[in-house]
């Protein structure tokens, strides 16, 4: 099978796909080794979990039926009857949470290591938007099993944009596909979850990865300039990545086997909202924050101010590379404060109702 010391397949790929160029590029890419190198693995982990979500999501599509009449039953069928359906759905649900968690960790590490510095501003911007898209995936996917908890959490969640002055109600109607959460919302969220978000994410992810290739790995200032050791990305760093990916697969499998993702009770739009409805953990801090706001602050509805605050925060997050130039210490202090606030609000939201009331 060799032809002048080279496999035929390789020769075929070299001639048609430019394999040699790719191999040269991969061989050239090197990863700096220093005390913060561990944080470099978070990006690869996020990418791996995204691929897991894509693969399990495609498998779920084979059985899922996006209508208020059939969605719950189709997921129930996946969990009870489809061979290994329980595994795929549980990995998809647990994986979504792990994915968002890793994306957060990746972004926070980049923020504190200041890896967004010039010329990597656009890598940061695409990354932040990808993080928002991950949250969008979580929000839209949460409703798809059409269970009571998801139904009412989506009702609360789609009420939030309605607080935006001027366009809020229109935005909320567009999201819901009507004045209230209904089968129309489910169809819409399904479209967003399986078509719109994946398409936009793929494009942005491509841009993000290209930019990472273009600029290479950022080295924190504190370890910059020393006589740095580097290792080749292929195969050394990739093999290390794979150790983490295998661990993630093991964790997901264990979670799926011991704690299969609950399905709950089918949503009944005419039933009263059950006690204890709350969104996924990554939205909890905003949910809890809005609850604590007084009904009016200086004549403006408290929730409107809250939503505007979150909007300002999102814009500020995108603008971090430019804000950093004006006041580096300010960005770090603000980031610590916001993270601490989010952590406290999340803990308060997770406390039992009686405890949080007292």
């Amino acid at each position: 099978m060799t032809h002048g010391g080279e496999s035929r397949l390789r020769a075929w790929a070299r001639d048609r796909l430019g394999w040699d160029d790719l191999a040269r590029m991969a061989a050239k890419k090197r990863v700096p080794v220093h005390r913060y190198t561990i944080f470099y693995y978070l990006g690869g982990m996020a990418l791996f979990l995204f691929l897991v979500q894509t693969a399990t999501g495609i498998l779920l599509l084979l059985y899922y039926r996006p209508s208020a009449a059939e969605a719950f039953e189709s997921v129930q069928y996946v969990m009870a009857e489809v061979p290994f359906g329980w595994l795929i759905r549980s990995i998809h649900s647990w994986g979504a949470n792990l994915f968002v968690g890793v994306v957060f960790a990746h972004m926070i590490s980049v923020l504190f290591l200041r890896a967004y510095r010039a010329p990597r501003e656009m890598t940061w911007v695409t990354g932040v938007v990808l993080c928002f898209l991950a949250l969008g995936f979580g929000f839209s996917g949460y409703l798809l099993p059409w269970n009571t908890l998801a139904f009412f959490a989506t009702k609360v969640g789609t009420d939030v944009p309605a607080q935006i002055p001027g366009v809020g109600h229109l935005l909320s109607r567009i999201l819901r596909g009507g004045s209230d959460v209904s089968g129309a919302t489910l169809s819409r969220f399904y479209g967003i979850h399986v078509a719109i978000l994946p398409a936009v994410t793929t494009l942005l992810l491509g841009a993000h990865l290209l930019l990472v290739q273009r600029h290479g790995m950022s080295v924190p200032r504190s370890v910059e300039g020393r006589n740095r050791r580097t290792i080749p990305f292929v195969p050394d760093f990739l093999m290390r990545d794979m150790v983490g990916w295998l661990a993630a697969v093991g964790l997901l499998a264990a979670l799926a086997a011991f704690f299969p993702w609950e399905l709950g009770v089918k949503a009944d739009p005419f039933a009263p909202a059950p006690a204890g409805i709350r969104p996924e953990w990554y939205f909890l801090w905003m949910f809890q924050g809005l609850k604590y706001l007084p009904s009016r602050i200086a004549g403006i509805p408290g929730e409107t101010l809250g939503v505007l605050f979150f909007g300002v925060l999102a814009v500020a997050l995108v603008a971090v590379p430019w804000l950093d130039r004006r006041g580096r210490r300010g960005v770090a202090v603000a980031a610590v404060l916001v993270l601490a606030l989010a952590a406290v609000l999340t803990v308060l939201a997770l406390l039992p109702v009686s405890a949080s009331r007292s």
Partner: protein, 427 residues
Amino acid sequence: MRSAPGIVLLLLAVAAPDAGAEAPATKPPPAVNACIDCHVALDDPRISPPAKLFADDVHAKAGFTCVFCHGGDARQEDQEKAHDPAKGFLGKPRPQQIPELCGKCHSDPALMKQYDPSERVDQLSEYRSSGHGKALAKGDTTVAECASCHGAHGIQPIKDSRSPVSPTKIAQTCNRCHGDAKLMTAHGLPSDVYEKWSRSVHYAARVGKGDLSAPTCNSCHGNHGAAPPQVDSVANVCGTCHVTFADQFKLSPHWEPFKELGLPGCVACHENHEIVKPSEAFLAAGDESKCSSCHEEGSAGARAAAAMHADLVGLDGEIRNATRLVDRAEEAGMEISRARFDLVAATNALTRARSEVHLFRASAVHDAVAEGRTVAQKAASGGEARLKERDFRRRGLFVSLGLIVLSMAALIVWIRDRDRSMRESGE
């Protein structure tokens, strides 16, 4: 069941101010009511409190004044003129007078329609048919008349929780007399009925769960026509709610003999006031047995009871076993909706089988139990299958984790070797 929203509700509507208590009235009088002005100001504890209470009375709110019941002239400030017997002044009505006094308005359909088109007007005739009414007619003034239950001057509609005959208070109101041992002994009646009722399933539903459809005193005895159900009407009384049981009992081989022996239908097994939750033990031999009080051991009746008992206990056990399996599978996070559905069907079959007991035919109970057993076994095998599936998943996980850990170890070994060779080559 409605109780009289005041036999005294419009105690007074029938007399114009000048006509006294005997004359009929169709409309409320002028608002002048000198009676209240004087009576409120008096210190006499017999006179002042009723006048004060009347301000909040349903009749006062409808525009009626004191003279509609008590007669006299409400426009006179002078006591003698106001209490003029020529103007029908009655003073405090005697107990025997009260039902007729209230009935003057409350038995007048034309008048009552002006205030509530759906209001009943048969309270007086009902009362006359009651144990209370008959005793009062014989001159026994210790029995209840309208004011005994509804009050005299602060009368509220029965839907108002302040009314002593509101749905949540009626039992305590009856118990004011029926719990009085001295009074009840004088009438040859038991005084522990409230106590017994408070141990019943009906009390638990009504008071414990707030289910106002569960019976209280007047649900079975009537309110204005209150009387104990007779032996041959007990099944009809219970059957107003327990329709299926009553129908089945009438079709059962017990129906005719019970009538001949004068046994009080449902009460023979279930008691009257202290109706506790029935159990399979009613059918078995033992302290709780109901059947053995009539059917001797070894008789056909006792054998039928034992067969029904065995069937019901067997199905109950199978449902418990299936529930335990399904619960365990659910705790392990397994999808068990189909098994739960089967469990509900099995429980429904058990309920039906228990109901079939009132036919007193072992074959009827057996058929219902057989149906329940089939679904209970289906639920149990569903639960077992889910538990096996759980074990399969865990075994699969351990195998997969083993492979994953091996792969990770191989990668780590490879990385270390590679690092070592790179260091040695000075790369």
